[in-house]
């Protein structure tokens, strides 16, 4: 299950959102420190919106060019027949 995205190092490329097969990560506008005083800088940054639906496929981590996504290998909520 996805644990964390190191937002401080994120470039906002959106690949983690694009490759997620479970709609867990959403790119959403967020205020960041502007380079020029007086301007409001709004960046699109990833938010772990539906963590509970992560299927632990590692795609976000595998394809992140900055290597800042961390998925834990625990597999949760796996149905059992007995």
């Amino acid at each position: 299950m996805i644990e964390n995205i190191d937002i401080a190092r994120c470039t906002g490329c959106g690949i983690c959102d694009a490759v997620c097969p479970a709609d867990v990560i959403h790119m959403e506008p967020a205020p960041v420190t502007a380079e020029v005083a007086g301007l409001r800088h709004i960046a699109l940054l990833p938010v772990i919106r539906f963590r509970e639906h992560c299927i632990t496929c590692f795609s976000c981590e595998v394809f992140c060019p900055e290597r800042i996504v961390d998925v834990h290998p625990s597999v949760k909520n796996r149905p059992r027949p007995w």
């Binding site: 490759v19 290998p73 149905p79």
Partner: protein, 572 residues
């Protein structure tokens, strides 16, 4: 009409779902079509990066020149206990080498032996068939195909979740309607031929829990018959980690043992023991559970130390990450004592078609595992058949373009489908479909319902599913994310009715369908497909004899796997 707000796309061939079947159907349609033929491929998520094929290792059965295609066909038919479309399987095998060359031409590479010949491995439960494995597994396979489709001018639409099929005025299918799986924007895709490739339905159980296979149910709603609902793909699994290398592990000496330390497979499968294919292993595991011999384990201790490393790495990138991040724990879990059970990964219910992949409804075709070509898919035959039937479906769709009247859109129908797609959206609602899904899983995965079946237990399960369906009707979705999940869960509930109904109907035991109350295989009465056809509001189950034009259906071959051929290589 004022409420209608959406996007209209027009195409010639619409392919729904971008696994191996859909990717190949789109490629085939583009290549078989005259220049300028419009082909559109859409998927709920990102084409080339998501779906069952993308997360698989993409092993595929390929018959190289000189291979015994008739022999491979015979063993696949036998391995399906006869429930196979022989003509379609033969075509998939016959064209597999040409597809391999297509794949290489778009940049895929396949493992090779030192002398440059293809490295091939046998697959569980089959003797003659050999699988090839592409470098980079399913992710590379799907991505290469995505890039090729882009180059060849196929329109790719990511993130469209199909909610209905359009019925044209002449009883034909005229495309599909969908919602954007992030924004909810309504889309109409008008098409002259529509190929459903949305996999078989699952209950979010297997290692790829994003696949849900809703297209088959939409096809049923549009008038197609569904087939093979009583069969399922049940495989050994563990609650702790994903392990897709069981086939190879068993070839290296691993075997299943019960809680008493007894290797039990030979008792149930005298000829194949642990090398039996997965439905038979699952049945044996369930029978051991029934006897009280659980927990069950896959004993990997016979695997030599120097080859163990192989199993905690994978050529499939995401799986390799998984093991790497587990670290030392992976080694302990895999080679220590981790309980295994028989896990229902997906159903085998697909759309009834002929060997040309055309459904009963004009303009509607099926490919991939949404097409009911076989009731049992071996490692490597999942993808192998999907590659084959995808190619066939694309070709048939092109043939249909000139013979079917052009579709016309019906504004009233579109408005109805629009309302149906978006009606459950209610920002004040709570997201509750997961709770129903968990209850549904508990009903359908119980080993004495999903694996070892009995008339009374199936009836009880059906009543429980009806209660869940009633609960479902009251639900709404607060956002698009939940709207998609809710519609998927609705489809699963409907699929559960088909599965239980077909399981009650088939009063014998065959393949993955084991009836405690009808334990014998009955060749005289049940060498048939069980087809669910629409009869008012409820499905009616009917028998369709399985034609055997190429080989008679025999009891399973008793010849053991030839050990000396396990790692054979062949030229090509």
């Amino acid at each position: 009409m004022a409420s209608l707000d959406g996007v209209l796309i027009e195409t010639d061939v619409l392919v729904i779902g971008a696994g191996a079947g859909g990717l190949l159907a789109a490629l085939s349609a583009k290549r078989h079509g005259t220049p300028g033929t419009r082909v559109t491929l859409l998927d709920s998520w990102m084409i080339g990066r998501t779906g069952h094929t993308a997360f698989s290792n993409a092993w595929m059965i390929v018959a190289l020149p000189g291979d015994d295609i008739d022999g491979i066909l015979r063993e696949i038919v036998a391995g399906n206990d006869g429930i196979a479309d022989q003509l379609l399987v033969r075509e998939a095998l016959q064209q597999s080498h040409a597809r391999l060359k297509d794949f290489e031409a778009i940049g895929m590479t396949f493992h090779q032996a030192a002398d440059g010949s293809y490295a091939r491995r046998p697959t569980r439960g089959l003797d003659l068939a050999r699988v090839l494995y592409p470098e980079g597994g399913g992710l590379e396979f799907c991505w290469r195909l995505r890039l090729a489709l882009e180059r060849e001018g196929v329109q790719l639409l990511d993130r469209l979740f199909v909610t209905g099929l359009l019925r044209g005025a002449e009883g034909r299918i005229a495309g599909a309607v969908s919602i954007h799986s992030r924004t909810g924007t309504f889309h109409v895709v008008k098409a002259r031929a529509t190929i459903v490739c949305t996999n078989a339905i699952t209950f979010r159980s297997g290692f790829v829990r994003d696949i849900t296979g809703t297209g088959t149910l939409l096809a049923y709603g549009a008038g197609a018959a569904l087939r093979n609902a009583e069969f399922s793909y049940v495989r050994p699994g563990t609650p702790k980690f994903y392990f897709e290398g069981i086939t190879f592990a068993i070839q290296e000496g691993a075997h299943f043992v019960n809680g008493k330390g007894e290797a039990f497979m030979r008792e149930y499968e005298p000829e194949w023991a642990d090398e039996a294919d997965v439905p038979r292993i699952a049945r044996a595991m369930a029978l051991e559970k029934q006897k009280g011999n659980d927990p069950l384990y896959l004993d990997m201790s016979p695997i030599p130390e120097d080859t163990r490393e192989y199993f905690i790495h994978s050529k499939v990138k995401w799986m390799d990450y998984f093991f790497r991040k587990l670290g030392a724990e992976a080694r302990t879990d895999m080679f220590g004592k981790t309980p295994y059970y028989a896990l229902n990964q997906m159903t085998k219910m697909g759309i009834r078609t002929g060997p040309d992949c055309r459904s009963d409804v004009p303009g509607l075709l099926a490919a991939g595992l949404a097409q009911a070509g076989c009731a049992n898919h071996f490692a490597g035959f999942h993808i192998g058949l999907c590659v084959g039937n995808g190619w066939v479906a694309g070709r048939s769709a092109i043939e249909d373009l000139d013979s079917l009247p052009p579709p016309r859109l019906d504004a009233n129908q579109i408005e109805m489908l629009h309302d149906e797609a978006l009606r459950p959206l209610d920002s004040t609602a709570a997201a509750e479909s997961d709770a129903i899904l968990r209850d549904l899983q508990a009903v359908m995965f119980a080993y004495d319902v999903g694996i070892l079946k009995h008339g009374e237990r199936l009836q009880q399960a059906r009543q429980r599913v009806e209660v869940l369906a009633e609960r479902m009707r009251a639900l709404a979705a607060p956002h698009v994310h939940e709207l998609v999940r809710l519609k998927e869960t609705e489809a699963m509930l409907l699929a559960a009715c088909f599965i239980l109904g077909a399981s009650l109907f088939r009063t014998e035991s065959r393949l993955s369908h084991f009836r405690d109350d009808f334990p014998e295989r009955d060749e005289d009465n049940w060498l048939v497909w069980v087809d669910a056809v629409r009869d008012g509001d409820t499905p009616k189950f009917v028998k369709t004899p399985v034609p055997t034009p190429l080989c008679p259906v025999l009891r399973r071959a008793v010849r053991p796997t030839r050990l000396d051929q396990r790692f054979a290589v062949a030229g090509g």
